[in-house]
């Protein structure tokens, strides 16, 4: 997957959790929790969306690598075959 496709994939998972945020400005460096008042349930639903889209196991210990758009894209591009 290209970088752009990964960005799209992460955004899609994000907007599935919070459709009202679609096309709102998204700071790639700031955590979703901080920007959008995400709680643990929102975050888990976001991770579930990523899992369903990619098939990756996404263990809990890797959650810190998935908290922002930039981090999530870097993590996915490393784990997914390009």
């Amino acid at each position: 997957m290209t970088q752009d496709q990964l960005v799209e994939l992460v955004k899609r998972s994000l907007y599935e959790v919070a459709p009202d945020l679609e096309a709102e400005p998204l700071d790639p460096k700031r955590s979703f929790n901080e920007q959008f008042e995400f709680d643990s349930m929102d975050f888990l639903k976001f991770i579930t969306g990523l899992h369903q889209a990619t098939g990756l196991a996404l263990p809990e210990k890797d959650y810190p690598h998935l908290v922002s758009l930039e981090l999530a894209v870097a993590y996915l591009s490393e784990k997914l075959p390009s």
Partner: protein
């Protein structure tokens, strides 16, 4: 014949707008069936019936604003014979005040790029989006709608008017503080065993089956309440009423402000996986769907869980007519003494606010001790 009235969906509700009849005259009704949808300060609520029977007649048209207690429909209960007379013509007791808020989204405007959140916000504020300048990216977002000259109002969250939600919270909490003599008791509980168990458990579960820390906390609290029943129930007609079954109101925050605490029924009898499914469903419906009337009225106690990255302790306010509320602070590593040695442990502060008319601090202290013991054996939950 039974009169089916506009229910009170909490200490804070005095009227609601009937937005949809789900059942029509002649339909068979079973206890628990959803008969209508009512728009309240807490969003659209599905109203359940309490009797088996047949819907005889509807008395209120959709779009009507109706005070609590007004007759919405008549139901012929199962024992009654079918009436010989024809069904009386539909009586409209209230003129529609405004059209039902069927569509939330603003009409589509060609050539205009606007986010859904900004669109509904503009509608709420009565702003013509054609008159708004887009941001640097050419899109109208919340930032562009919420120009500083407009007095700051809360963001709309999926059809719920947050100003009204604030009014509902204000009414319930002011009544609570006016009427209920609160006392507060708290303990710090070592959550290390539970968090380690949870990490192991979640490592062997796929993403969609993983548990949040709130899940074992909900179950442990319910088990503790079974042993301290004076904290579980209502205070009605100047008397405390103990309720055998635990229906735990779970405080769920809305993006942009406000919260709702719908009841999760009988968590002490559910597996952790089942509690997680119920919790997930409740959160989704609080934020994006519909709650049922029973979920807003049946809670016997409330749990207010602050969650990750929040604060250490909450001393919550009781939701009338309940007699206690449990507040849970964030779970975080702190220096803690274990067997006489200083160690880093994951701890959380649990607080109980109790209604002193119904119970005493001693009961709350006993509950917290039990809870501490239960949480040391998470594998038993």
């Amino acid at each position: 014949m039974t009169a089916f009235r506009m229910p009170s969906l909490g200490a804070d509700m005095d009227e609601g707008t009937l937005v949809e009849w789900i059942k029509k005259p002649g339909d068979q009704l079973k206890r628990g069936d959803i008969i209508a949808v009512v728009e309240t300060q807490k969003g659209a609520i599905e109203i359940e019936v309490f009797h088996d029977g047949v819907l005889e007649a509807i008395h209120v048209k959709t779009g009507s604003r109706v005070p609590v207690g007004e007759v919405l429909a008549t139901i012929r209960t199962a024992e009654e014979p079918e009436s010989a007379q024809p069904v009386p013509p539909e009586v409209v007791t209230q003129k529609p005040v405004y059209a039902p808020p069927a569509q939330v989204a603003a009409p589509f405007t060609p050539g205009l790029k606007i986010t859904p959140a900004a669109s509904s916000r503009a509608k709420e504020l009565g702003i013509d989006v054609q008159s708004v300048f887009p941001g640097q990216d050419g899109i109208i977002g919340l930032k562009e709608i919420e120009v500083p000259s407009v007095p700051a109002k809360p963001k709309a969250s999926r059809g719920i008017n947050l100003d009204e939600m604030r009014n509902a919270i204000a009414a319930a909490m002011a009544r609570s503080k006016r009427e209920i003599p609160h006392y507060y008791v708290s303990s710090i509980i070592d959550m290390t065993a539970m968090m380690e168990w949870l990490a192991t458990e979640n490592a062997r579960r796929t993403v969609s089956d993983r548990l949040l820390a709130a899940v074992p906390i909900i179950k442990a609290c319910a088990l503790g309440l079974q042993q301290v029943p004076e904290l579980n129930g209502h205070f009605l007609d100047d008397r405390p009423l103990r309720i055998a079954e635990v229906k735990m109101g779970i405080g769920i925050a809305l993006r942009g402000g406000g919260l709702i605490a719908p009841a999760l029924a009988l968590p002490d009898r559910l597996s952790l996986t089942e509690i997680m499914q119920r919790l997930s469903d409740l959160v989704a419906r609080v934020r994006g769907g519909r709650l049922r009337s029973s979920e807003l009225t049946e809670a016997t106690v409330t749990l207010s869980n602050l969650g990750d990255n929040s604060a250490d302790m909450v001393l919550p306010v009781i939701y009338p007519p309940q007699v206690a509320i449990i507040g849970v602070g964030q779970i975080d590593a702190r220096p803690w003494v274990v067997d006489g040695t200083l160690a880093s442990r994951k701890i959380a502060t649990f607080a109980v606010a109790g209604d002193h008319r119904a119970n005493d601090g001693r009961s709350a202290a006993r509950f917290l001790r039990l809870l501490g013991e239960i949480l040391q054996k998470p594998e038993m939950l």
